[in-house]
Symmetry: C2
Subunit: 354 residues, 2 copies
C-alpha cells in the first residue's frame, strides 16, 4: 500500500459550511484509502457532523478552533484577529508543524493568502506567492498564474511566477522543460506593459532554468494550449480566469437553448444525450476546482467558496495528488535552477540601461 | 429613402488584401442601398478589382494612396512614414474633411490608433481614446472598453472610458441611463488596483451623468450581462476579450468532438443540425467583428485583420449603423453631461486626501 497522505482541512471555510467539507472528504476517501484528514473548526459542530460520514471516523482527527474567518473579512483584520485561534490559521499551522502534507480551505481568499504568507513564509529567493490554476486547453492541461494573489506585479514577480509555474508543470505534468509564455496584448516585442517587456528580456536570457521561454502569448492562446505555463500578474490573470468561466457558462446556456428550439433538436439531444453529458461534465467547474498557492514553505489549496461536495472533493483530490508527488520539494529544487539573485541583478542592469 | 451614408475604407488594410474588403462592401450594399464607399489604396490594384463587384461601381469612389501600412509596422514609424500618403491615413483624413461619416480599416491596430489620434484629435475633455467592443451576453449585447488602445490607464482614463462607453450605450442600445461596472478582481470595495478604486470613488459621486454606476464587476459578469458597460484599462480588457474568444472556440471544439463520439451522437447531431447551425452562427466571431475607436473627433471601426468578406461586412455594418445613428454627435452630447474638469478636480481632491 502507498504511503499515508495527511490533509489539513479548514472545515469552517466556504459559503456552505462544514457539511460540504466533510462530505467531500468522504468522497475522496472512497477513492484513496491512504488519505487521512485533520479537520479544524468548532468541535461542537464537527463531532456530530462526522457521524454522518462513518467512513471518515477512524481516519480523521478533529482539532478545535474557536474562530471562523468570515468570507468578507478584510485580510489584514483576519490576520490580526484570527491568528492562532481560527480554523484557517490552525489548518496552515498544522502544515508548518509537519503534521500534514498540505492544507485545504474554501474560505476567504485574501485572508487565506495573508495568513499563509505569514504562517508558512515565502520560499527563499521568491519575493511573493502566487495562485496557480490548472486550466484545461485543447492540447492538454496547462498552468496559469497568478490568478489573483497580487495585483500589479513587477518584472521580478513575473520572473518568480515563471520559476514557480515551470516547477509545478515539471512536477505535475512530468515535463522536462515546460514552455513558458508571458500574457500580453500582442505577440510583437514592442507591445504591452513595461514590466512584461522587462520580464521577457530576463526570461529570454535564462539558461538551464528548467523551462523554455516561448515569448508573449495572448488571451486566446490559453484555450489553445500554446504553452505549458502562462504567466501574468494577478489582476489580468484573475480577469482571464473569470472571463473564461463566464464564457463557458454562456456557451453552455446557448447550447441548452438551441437544443430546446424545436422537436428535431429535442430528438437530437435525446440521441446525443451521452455525448452532451460528457461535455457537460468536462465543462463542469466543480471538476476543476482549486487554486494552488505557490512560493511558500508549504502548499495550500484554495477551494472555490461556493462549491458543493463534488467541488470540494476536487480540491481535496488536487491536494492529494500534489502531496503524493512531493511537489514542495520538487518546486524548491526547481527554484534553485534559476536563482532569483541573478534575476535581481538583471533587473538592476535593465533599469540602469533605461 | 433614407439619407446617404458614406463610409471611408482603407482598402489595403488586413491580412487578406483588398479583395476581402471589396467583397464585404458588396455584401453590405446588398442590404443597404443608401450606402456609398470611398476606397483608399493603390489605384492599379483597386480599379480592376472593382470590376469583380459590378454593384459597387456606381456607388464607389477610388482614391489613390501610394503607401500601405504593414501589419507589423511599429505605430510610431507608421505615423512618421505613412502620414499623408498611406491608404490608412487617407481613410481617416476623408472623415476629418467631412467627406465621409465614418472610417473602417482592417489594418495594424496600433498604427491605426496612432494615426487616428493624430488625424482626428481627441474630443474636448477626453484625455485618451479607447477601443470599445460590443460583447454578446446572456442578457443583451453590452459594451466593454478599453480592449487595447492604452495599457495601464489611470483613474482619469477609467472615468473617461465610463463617459464614452455610456454615451455609446445610450446611442446604440437606446438606453436612457446605462449601468456602468468597473472590472476588478472582486466586488468588495477593498480589492483591486489603486486606480480602479480611485475611479470607483469618482463614479460613485457622479450625478446626472447619463449613467448609473453599479460598482465593481468580475470577469464572469461580462458573459452574464450584469451591467450595460464594463470599463477597464486596455491590458486586462484585451486579455478578457481574447480569453473569451479562445474559450468559445475551445467549447465549440469540445462540442464537435462530443457529437462525433459514437453513432447515437452523430444521429443526434443530424436531428439537431438546424439548432447547432444556429448556435455556430451565434458564436461565429465574424458576425461580431469591429472595435470602435471612441473619444476622437470622428469614429473609426477597426476590423479584425485576419477576417474574410463575411467578417469585413460585419465591420462595415457596424460602421453603417453608427453613422446612421449620428453617434458622434450623441457621444459629444454625452461627454458634456459629466465634464472631465469636475473629474480632474475630484482626482486632485482624492490625491490630496491620501
Amino acid at each position: 500500500m502507498s504511503e499515508i497522505v495527511t490533509i489539513s482541512v479548514d472545515a469552517m471555510g466556504g459559503d456552505r459550511g462544514p457539511d460540504v467539507v466533510l462530505h467531500g472528504a468522504s468522497l475522496l476517501f472512497a477513492n484513496h484509502k491512504n488519505v487521512r484528514f485533520i479537520f479544524h473548526g468548532k468541535q461542537e459542530i464537527l463531532e456530530p457532523l462526522l457521524k454522518k460520514y462513518p467512513s471518515l471516523i477512524s481516519i480523521s482527527q478533529i482539532l478545535h478552533a474557536e474562530k471562523t474567518i468570515a468570507m468578507d473579512e478584510k485580510p489584514s483584520r483576519a490576520l490580526r484577529q484570527g491568528r492562532g485561534s481560527s480554523s484557517m490559521w490552525r489548518a496552515l499551522e498544522t502544515v508548518k508543524e509537519g503534521k500534514a502534507e498540505i492544507a485545504v480551505s474554501g474560505g476567504n481568499t485574501g485572508a487565506l493568502m495573508a495568513m499563509a504568507t505569514f504562517c508558512l513564509r515565502p520560499m527563499q529567493n521568491i519575493s511573493r506567492p502566487a495562485i496557480a490554476a490548472i486550466w484545461p486547453s485543447l492540447r492538454a492541461d496547462i498552468i496559469v498564474l497568478d490568478v489573483g494573489a497580487t495585483v500589479a506585479g513587477d518584472a521580478q514577480q513575473l520572473v518568480d511566477f515563471s520559476i514557480l509555474g515551470s516547477a509545478l508543470a515539471r512536477a505535475l505534468f512530468n515535463l522536462k522543460e515546460p514552455t513558458i509564455g508571458l500574457l500580453n496584448v500582442g505577440v510583437e516585442e514592442v507591445k504591452g506593459l513595461e514590466q512584461v517587456k522587462e520580464a521577457a528580456n530576463i526570461l529570454a536570457k535564462a539558461k538551464n532554468a528548467g523551462f523554455r521561454y516561448h515569448g508573449f502569448v495572448e488571451g486566446d492562446d490559453i484555450g489553445k494550449g500554446t504553452v505549458d505555463v502562462v504567466v501574468t500578474e494577478g489582476f489580468s490573470g484573475n480577469i482571464a480566469l473569470k472571463t473564461a468561466e463566464g464564457t463557458a457558462r454562456q456557451v453552455g446556456a446557448y447550447l441548452r437553448d438551441a437544443l430546446k428550439a424545436d422537436i428535431f433538436s429535442m430528438l437530437g439531444s435525446f440521441f446525443a444525450a451521452k455525448a452532451l453529458r460528457a461535455l457537460k461534465n468536462k465543462m463542469d467547474p466543480r471538476n476543476n476546482n482549486g487554486g494552488i498557492f505557490l512560493g511558500l514553505n508549504g502548499i495550500v489549496i484554495k477551494s472555490h467558496g461556493g462549491t458543493d461536495e463534488i467541488g470540494f472533493k476536487s480540491a481535496l483530490e488536487l491536494a492529494y495528488e500534489m502531496a503524493q508527488d512531493n511537489l514542495l520539494e520538487k518546486i524548491k529544487e526547481g527554484v534553485k535552477l534559476f536563482p532569483s539573485q541573478n534575476v535581481q541583478q538583471d533587473v538592476q542592469q535593465n533599469n540602469n540601461k533605461d
